[in-house]
């Protein structure tokens, strides 16, 4: 096997090893310096391999499905893995000063690192997995690491947020697991590709699919299961918030897309895809309206996540069901995936920048951003660039994503979704200007001085989200590698 | 019916009798200490008789040994818990949830 072929498994092995070491000894600096370059190299290797040779498939332990577990990475998985690598790299670099254990080991300084590396491993495990039960274990792994990070501050509010999240997450995992059980009972396999090949008109498969969808929707915080998200994402320490908001919901969304576009595309009836679309639209509008009303910086950003996640679900009415066979489906599907990536980059940048602002101001009321353009211009610029992506303005990645979805909505004659996308953009402008406009006000005095390097790190993420729009042709092409061709008949 | 089968029938029935007697005692006896007494009867005698009753059916000597071991374990555990529970001055109820 070539070195390139080893990249996927080492994307799991390396962060796990780092997590083990982080449990034993509080030396994050060494771990970050050791693990980050390796992860970047492995990601480049994986992306190049997928780009050159197409989708990768690995039978773990040499046992082929259905007996064993197979890992798989096409363009979509590789893109999400690469996004994770970029976002996590910046996050761990930003987190080093705060959780550096410079004066001996502290509680948070110790706990943050195993959790961060385990979360990284869990995300990669979800994106690579080609087995329904293995995905269950990986998602539980991710959920429990998330839960611990949400509670890390140790205040009553953050622990309550963690408990609320736990209630949704536990319910979601059981629903997903029950769905998996029913699918296995009906077809005797857990492998995504083998399940895709099986005929699935029976009651167990349909009930299983519904349960899997409900479970994953609860974990992705799709409206009306969103109530846990804002307190959880806003209450965590800023680097953790960045992971939670930028990456964690993408994992369950990724599985949902795999499930509906690879495993059971034929079961996505018109009523189902429209229902999911309505929930996504509700999330966009409701999340945006609540974001406008927030008075705290991190809460506002968290509600923006509720809204931005809503866009992802428009992939179902635009590219699923009847639309799957239509010419516009590729654009809509790719647009939604680009939205996931662009949002990950922009939201990661925004939460990290917010963390710096909170650190400088000593509080997280919206007034913390007053005068930012003068006191912390790099951070103000980070806010501005990520806002461009979140609003969907050219030339950002968010623009390309929303533009692709918009044109598909028009092409398919589903004007309602186009209106929702446009309204969502206007509402995003409304809540983001509440952050951006005051940066030019006269400022209150900042309490702490934040170095230029620490400010520049989130900026690179925001800049990457813009770059995604400028280079949109290559990402578009890359996402098509191994894209499920749902339009092969059997559509309702 | 073979002798071994008859043996099993007699002893398992006797064991069952003590379990039922213990359960009836649990329901009928008025105070906690006499209920505890009923419990230990079922634990010790009921389980013991059933172990003896199943003995002729074993496949290997080691299984018989295991059966005796289970009985001994249950005997010790029940003696300890009975002792501790009897001494424990517990509040009537810890807390309620609607």
């Amino acid at each position: 096997m070539t070195t390139l072929g080893l990249a996927p498994v080492f994307l799991i092995i390396v962060p796990l090893t780092a997590a083990f070491l982080a449990v034993v000894a509080p030396w994050p600096r060494v771990l970050v310096i050791g693990a980050v370059p390796l992860m970047l190299a492995l990601t480049v290797a994986l992306v190049m391999s997928v780009w050159r040779d197409g989708p990768i498939s690995i039978a773990i332990g040499g046992w082929q499905a259905p007996l064993g577990i197979e890992l798989a990475a096409g363009g979509l998985a590789a893109s999400f893995l690469a996004t994770t690598t970029v976002v996590m790299t910046i996050i761990v670099l930003v987190a080093l000063p705060a959780f550096g254990n410079r004066h001996g080991e502290t509680r948070t300084g110790w706990a943050f690192w195993p959790l961060a590396f385990m979360m990284w491993a869990a995300l990669n495990a979800v994106f690579l997995s080609g087995d329904l039960f293995n995905i269950y274990v990986a998602i539980e792994f991710l959920t429990l690491a998330t839960l611990a990070l949400v509670a890390l501050e140790g205040k009553a509010g953050t622990i309550e947020a963690a408990m609320r999240y736990a209630i949704f997450a536990l319910f979601g995992s059981l629903a997903y697991l029950l769905g998996v059980v029913l699918l296995y009972a009906a077809h005797g396999t857990l492998d995504l590709d083998l399940l895709a090949a099986a005929t699935k008109g029976d009651s167990a498969s349909l009930v299983g699919a519904a349960l899997i969808t409900a479970g994953l929707a609860a974990k992705t915080a799709l409206f009306p299961f969103h109530a846990w998200l804002p307190p959880a994402h806003a209450g965590a320490p800023a680097p953790a918030s960045a992971m939670l908001s930028a990456l964690v919901p993408k994992a369950s969304f990724f599985v949902l897309v795999q499930f509906w576009f690879v495993v059971m595309p034929e079961a996505a009836g018109p009523l189902f895809v429209q229902l999911i679309g309505v929930l996504g639209a509700a999330a966009i509008l409701y999340g945006s309206l609540l974001a406008i009303r927030q008075t705290r910086l991190k809460r506002l950003i968290a509600y923006s996540t509720v809204a931005q996640i809503g866009y992802l679900f428009l992939v179902f009415p635009l590219a699923g069901g009847d639309s799957a066979a239509q010419p516009w489906s590729a654009g809509a599907w790719t647009g939604a995936m680009l939205q996931a990536i662009a949002h990950a980059l922009a939201k990661g940048a925004m939460f990290l920048a917010a963390g710096l602002v909170v650190e400088a101001a000593g509080h997280d009321r919206l007034s913390a951003v007053h005068g930012l353009a003068r006191t912390m211009p790099i951070t103000a610029f980070t806010f501005a660039l990520s806002s461009v992506t979140l609003m969907g303005l050219p030339p950002s990645g968010g623009f390309v994503a929303k533009y692709l979805m918009l044109t598909s909505a028009f092409a398919s004659g589903q004007i309602v979704w186009a209106l929702v996308i446009l309204t969502g953009g206007l509402l995003a402008a409304a809540y983001l200007f509440r952050v951006l406009a005051p940066t030019f006000l006269r400022s209150a005095k900042a309490r702490a001085d934040i170095g230029a390097v620490r400010q520049a790190l989130p900026l690179t993420l925001a800049a990457t989200s813009i770059l995604l729009g400028l280079l949109s042709a290559q990402p578009f092409e890359f996402l098509q590698i191994g894209r499920p061709q749902a339009a092969t008949g059997g559509l309702q | 019916m073979s002798l071994a089968a008859l043996f099993t029938v007699v002893f398992t029935s006797a064991g069952l009798f003590f379990f039922i007697a213990g359960a009836v005692g649990m329901i009928r006896f008025p105070d906690m200490h006499s209920r505890l007494h009923a419990l230990t009867k079922a634990d010790n005698l009921g389980l013991g008789l059933i172990v003896i009753g199943v003995m002729p059916q074993v496949d290997r000597p080691v299984t018989a040994l295991k059966l005796v071991f289970i009985w001994a374990l249950a005997l010790v555990a029940s003696a300890v818990t009975a002792q501790l529970l009897a001494r424990s001055a517990a509040p009537p109820d810890l807390c309620e949830d609607g």
Partner: protein, 311 residues
């Protein structure tokens, strides 16, 4: 005829116990019912012929989860927590309707299943002699789907980090839970001195037979954890400080060893490959490592976060 009658009776009792555990007003009664529930389920698993699961259910459901919940409820009641009003009759009826419809839909899904579906039984049997072990469940857990098991052992670790991180900052470096004590010559202490050797024997036996007969690392580790907790409850031993390097090495050792063996395979070409000639030995090594780490982790999880200042 007798078989199904027994099963039906057992199923009804299990359902009644589950109802009591969820419907009863008394919290402590609910926990007691839940412990009972675990032992009844162990019987149900035995009836189904899934003895490996029955062992796990007896050790986890009836054993460790019971310890965890009894301890937690006692701590909460000492804090005299606030009890909210129960939801109104209308809300309860709506919840009951939701729950009943989910159960009905699941039951409907079951009616559509092929009554002869054999799953992967034959596939596993066909490759069993290349797995290195004779117990098919162990073969699936440690070889065919060893990757799941690797991740699962790390899930326990992530939870341990999460639980410890709930300590107050001033307690960081202290030992988990509270110091326990008992009358040194009392029944409890005597029992706790006598039982560990027996428990150790049973735990190791359950792990050991796991390669050929029902049993394995998880069941054995749970038993070991429970026995150690008994000694801790009797004040005979105490949990070590969470900052002790040795404790941390013990909790990661098993998963790290498993990962290391998998990585060697990856460097040789296949992640987590166990060559058939060495599979048995490797599985035994992995199981031994996992047993130690899982037993330590589970025991520490039940004790909870540090509540004592470092000495």
């Amino acid at each position: 005829m007798i078989g199904p009658a027994f099963d039906l009776l057992l199923a009804l009792i299990v359902i009644a116990v589950a109802l009591a555990a969820t419907l009863g007003r008394d919290n402590f009664g609910a926990v007691v019912f839940f412990i009972v529930y675990g032992s009844l389920l162990a019987v149900a698993w035995t009836r189904l012929g899934a003895v490996d699961v029955a062992l796990a259910e007896a050790a986890i459901g009836a054993g460790l989860t019971g310890l965890l919940l009894v301890g937690a409820l006692a701590r909460l009641s000492r804090l005299e927590v606030f009890s909210p009003k129960p939801p109104g009759a209308g809300a309860r009826a709506l919840c009951a309707l939701t729950a009943a419809s989910v159960a009905a839909v699941v039951a409907y899904a079951l009616t559509g299943l092929d009554p002869d579906g054999g799953g992967l039984t034959e596939t596993v049997a066909a490759d069993l002699d290349r797995s290195g072990v004779q117990n098919p469940v162990t073969a699936v857990l440690l070889n065919f789907r060893g990757y799941d098991t690797l991740l699962e052992s790390i899930v326990l670790l992530v939870v341990l980090v999460g639980v410890w991180s709930l300590a107050q900052d001033r307690h960081w470096g202290g030992a988990p839970g509270l110091a326990q004590h008992a009358r040194p010559d009392g029944v409890l202490a005597t029992f706790a001195r006598a039982l560990p050797p027996i428990g150790l024997l049973i735990g190791v036996y359950v792990v050991w037979v796991g390669t050929s007969e029902p049993g394995g690392a998880f069941q054995g580790a749970t038993i070991l954890a429970a026995v150690w907790l008994l000694a801790a409850m009797a004040g005979l031993t105490d949990a070590p400080s969470v900052t002790r390097r040795s404790v941390r090495v013990i909790v990661i050792a098993g998963p790290a060893l498993f990962l290391a063996i998998g990585t060697v395979g990856a460097l040789a070409g296949t992640f987590l490959a166990l060559p058939p000639d060495h599979a048995k030995r490797l599985i035994q090594v992995i199981e031994a490592g996992l047993t130690i780490s899982i037993a330590a982790t589970l025991a520490l999880l039940v004790l909870g976060f540090p509540q004592r200042a470092p000495p």
